[in-house]
């Protein structure tokens, strides 16, 4: 908007300029978008699992139909606005007064009803295929429990408990092993959403929900909590590691082992067991048996801490234990306020929990 002149030009040829302007605005950011690793973008239009694929195919139909409706109605609007505007040489007479037309009304009632029918039937089929899919006997069962503000994952058949980073085997034609998740919540509502694998399903206290995924390619798939759950809803991040069958079996074997007990870090372990850490965290083979926070038995097998808010390095661990609010303000982990010597020992101990 540069001034009256432009306002007046826009006034004369609104439709044309508006279309041009919107086109330019759409194109501009595409040219200057920063390069990003596409596999890190949780794009719903880059599906890698059956539920996400079914939704993607349905969405193409919906987009085609809505796009066609838009094209027709927008053309009518643009045509009316340009064709029926008051002319400069207007004679001042009123246009013919038309009150309506039953035939036209009938047409624009019946045609939308037919469109709705088509859309509805296509949708009902996809709802059924995703929600009522039977669980095959080979499926991996996982119980996902939402907490303020992290994820607990339990594999009851495998005896594994972990947090925030869900490991599942790849599921393709050579080995079909979908993962079926039971979704629970320990406190408020949460929502499990990994866009490239499936639509979201909420985790609601006092309620048992289900979802399933069968990722067809190995890799890391990102997601996060999609239902507002409190102060740190934003940093309740979610990572799904899709492993090859061998990698997955290896990971399960490692996770089933008890915690490493190294003599070199006895002092750190003593500090861990004698502070409030044990109220919330569990480490197998120690007195630590808390359930409010993530299980730390194999803490160092995870890439991130604080539900994906920071990478799992020695410095970040220290910073997190000393002052969690610096990384995730409002997190329910209290600051431990240890002196430097104790902190060194505790960090050294945690770093051995592979």
């Amino acid at each position: 908007m540069k001034g009256h002149g432009q306002t007046r030009i826009l006034g004369r040829n609104k439709a044309g300029i508006a279309v041009w302007l919107i086109g330019a605005l759409l194109a501009a950011p595409l040219c200057c978008a920063a390069p990003t690793d596409p596999s890190q973008i949780p794009n719903i239009f880059a599906p890698q699992s059956t539920p996400a694929h079914s939704i993607f195919r349905l969405s193409l139909l919906v987009l085609a139909i809505t796009g066609a409706i838009f094209a027709v109605v927008f053309s009518l609007l643009a045509y009316s606005v340009t064709k029926f505007r008051k002319r400069v040489d207007d004679d001042g007479r009123e246009p013919p007064q038309v009150y309506g037309s039953n035939q036209v009304e009938l047409a624009w009632t019946v045609i939308p009803i037919l469109i709705v029918l088509v859309l509805f039937l296509a949708t009902a089929r996809v709802i059924h295929s995703i929600q009522d899919a039977p669980q095959p006997p080979r499926a991996i069962e996982v119980i996902a429990i939402g907490h303020q503000f992290w994820w607990e994952f339990r594999y009851p058949a495998l005896g594994v408990v972990t947090a925030n980073e869900l490991h599942v085997p790849v599921s393709n034609s050579s080995s079909s092993t979908p993962t079926f998740l039971t979704l629970l919540s320990a406190d408020t509502d949460h929502s499990f959403w990994v866009p490239r694998l499936a639509g979201k399903t909420d985790l609601i206290p006092n309620r048992v929900n289900h979802t399933w995924i069968d990722p067809e390619q190995t890799g890391i798939y990102l997601g996060q909590c999609a239902q507002y759950c409190g102060v740190q809803h934003a940093k309740m991040l979610l990572r799904v590691y899709v492993d090859s069958p061998e990698q997955f079996n290896h990971w399960v074997e490692e996770q089933k082992k008890p915690a490493v007990a190294s003599d070199a870090v006895v002092e750190g372990r003593r500090i861990f067991e004698s502070t409030a850490c044990v109220n919330c965290h569990a480490v197998s083979g120690t007195i630590a048996d808390g359930h409010f926070g993530p299980d730390l038995t194999h803490l160092m097998s995870r890439d991130t801490i604080a539900s994906g808010a920071a990478s799992n390095t020695a410095e970040n661990l220290r910073a997190w234990i000393q002052e969690p609010d610096a990384i995730k303000p409002g997190s329910l982990m209290p600051p431990m306020q240890l002196n430097k010597k104790d902190m060194d020992a505790l960090t050294a101990y945690l770093l051995t929990l592979r």
């Binding site: 826009l10 838009f70 505007r85 309506g100 399903t201 206290p205």
Partner: protein
């Protein structure tokens, strides 16, 4: 109150300022109460806009530290609650209160005192909500505000997760303003059914009146479950109830059902009066009667009924059975049919007319364009599997802002310019109004077009910050830039309203050569509205007067 309301009462009044202000407090006149509603809504529009701006500045880059997560969560809760309950509803009620008696040839509402009571309840509701900034933590200490989100899902509202009193302020504010809304609805219905002038049968009412009648009926049905839910929540919080307390066996989904059986009809409660504005403005500026009047009424009644059967489309992700999801998919899609009929009828009204591009019409054309897109993204969201991806993402935020800002707010701006000459007696400045339109529509599209994209790329709503490298940065930057265009547009709007009040040209009774009864009386109308009760023969009584050779009543 603002200088505007004072100035409006100043015209031709030499009494001391205290006496004139006192008039506004004790008034039971529908015109003054209408203006009070509207000015009150505008003040909250500025406040809600500031809250939105704070959120958008926080999200302009990833890992920003402009505000803390606590403040961000309060901002989106207050922004949503304010905009719905204390901006759009009061402004729409204000227009209804101002216009309905004038349009049906009455001298006031059926219950003038109830009218005043309803306004002051709504007003105190808003004040109560904002008092939470000082009193939210009660004796605990510093100021606070509700931070549970505008639909306040259980069990986040339980005392275990929301200590202090901020949630109670939210609950009571909606309870109190809900009482006001019920009063308004009763008053609208009684006025419209009982106070019409001779000759104005139901079939000859202006569409604005019809649509407000339907809105009133929906309001009574929709506010009741909300009020019930607020009382149940208060019982949970203070009297040991367990309706929504999941730790004691309560149900979180129950709250969702209660809230959304209010919440979805509420969308139509807001949009039906917006349709009403468009249905008055588009014919006058196309110089043709509304196309398919009976169909427009029937379609709105259909929308009113169907809107009570779609609420769980807000809950597609809570794990309903496939049958439940299928049912709410079909009802949500069906509602697109009467809505589409309305859009086609507005187009039919413009078709073959002589369109005058004054500010009210520009805003209505903007409304048609944006409402079309909002309806189409609505169909995408009604497709429940698609909603499992898009629900609770920024796509949804973009969608409902397309409805509430792109459609409803645009018609509200149109209505302001259309009826400003009637209420103030002066014309607004057309150039400034066009600046408002173009700045606002550019800002709107920069913000809300590009807001769909991060949703598609997996960005959930209500996050105070986000991780870099997920492809969201550029879109959030553009979205925030758009906000500043919108602010500039709103400043032009406010400046126009205030400046024209003193400097605007005298408008005369009927500046638009319009056809409904409010244009037959003086501008601003006298206290008694009409010196003699009008008698009408058709839907466009002033057309009949102006064109005795070709009156409407011959054809209706």
């Amino acid at each position: 109150m603002s200088s505007e309301s004072i100035a409006l009462s100043t015209v031709g009044d030499a009494r001391p300022i205290g006496e004139r202000l006192h008039d506004w407090v004790i008034t039971v006149d529908h015109k003054k109460l209408g203006i009070l509603y509207i000015v009150y809504g505008l003040i909250f529009l500025i406040i809600g806009g500031i809250e939105a701006t704070i959120m958008r500045i926080q999200l302009i880059v990833p890992h920003n530290h402009f505000v803390s997560p606590e403040v961000f969560n309060r901002m989106f809760t207050m922004h949503g609650t304010t905009m719905i309950f204390f901006v759009v509803m009061p402004i729409l009620f204000g227009f209804g209160t101002y216009l309905i008696p004038l349009m049906i040839g009455a001298r006031d509402m059926a219950f003038p005192r109830l009218n005043a009571f309803s306004f002051w309840m709504t007003a105190f509701g808003g004040v109560l909500l904002y008092f939470s900034f000082i009193g939210g933590n009660g004796l605990y200490g510093a100021g606070n505000a509700p931070d549970v989100g505008w639909f306040a899902y259980a069990p986040l509202t339980a005392r275990a997760f929301s200590p202090g009193h901020s949630t109670d302020f939210w609950t009571l504010a909606l309870l109190v303003s809900g009482v006001g809304s019920i009063g308004t609805a009763v008053n609208f219905i009684a006025t419209i059914l009982c106070m019409r002038c001779p000759g104005m049968t139901l079939g000859k009412m202006p569409l604005l009146v019809w649509l407000n009648l339907i809105m009133g009926g929906m309001l009574i049905l929709a506010i009741s479950p909300l009020t019930a839910a607020q009382i149940m929540l208060s019982i949970d919080r203070y009297l040991g109830g367990h309706f929504f307390d999941t730790q004691a066996g309560g149900s979180a989904a129950l709250w969702m059902h209660f809230f959304w059986i209010f919440g979805h009809p509420e969308v139509y409660i807001l949009v039906v009066p917006a349709f009403a504005f468009a249905s008055e403005i588009i014919p006058v500026f196309s110089r043709k009667p509304i196309f398919g009047y009976p169909v427009m009424v029937a379609a709105t009644i259909c929308i009113g009924f169907i809107s009570f059967s779609v609420w769980a489309h807000h809950m597609f992700t809570i794990g309903m059975s496939s049958y439940g999801n299928t049912f709410f998919t079909v009802t949500s899609m069906i509602i697109a049919v009467p809505t589409g009929i309305k859009i086609f009828n507005w187009l039919g009204t413009m078709w073959g007319g002589k369109i005058h591009f004054k500010a009210p019409m520009l805003f209505c054309i903007g409304f048609l364009f944006q409402f079309l897109i909002a309806g189409l993204t609505g169909i995408m969201l009604a497709t429940s599997p698609f909603d499992w991806q898009l629900g609770n993402s920024y796509f949804v935020v973009a969608h409902f802002h397309y409805v509430i800002a792109g459609a409803i707010l645009f018609t509200i701006f149109g209505a302001f310019y259309y009826w400003y000459p009637k209420a103030s007696g002066r014309m607004y400045n057309e150039t400034l109004a066009k600046w408002h339109f173009w700045l606002f529509i550019i800002g709107f599209h920069l913000t809300f077009d590009f807001m769909h994209i991060p949703g598609i790329l997996g960005m959930p709503r209500r996050i105070y910050t986000y991780e870099p490298g997920r492809g969201w940065e550029i879109w959030n930057l553009i979205v925030t830039i758009g906000v500043f265009f919108q602010i500039a547009g709103v400043l032009a709007f406010v400046a126009n309203l205030l400046w024209s009040l003193w400097k605007g040209e005298t408008a005369g009774n009927d500046p638009w050569d319009a056809w409904t009864l409010e244009w037959s009386t003086s501008s601003p109308p006298p206290d008694y509205d009409f010196a003699a009760t009008p008698v009408v023969q058709s839907r466009r009584p002033l057309w009949d007067l102006k064109h005795p050779e070709d009156p409407d009543w011959k054809y209706e």
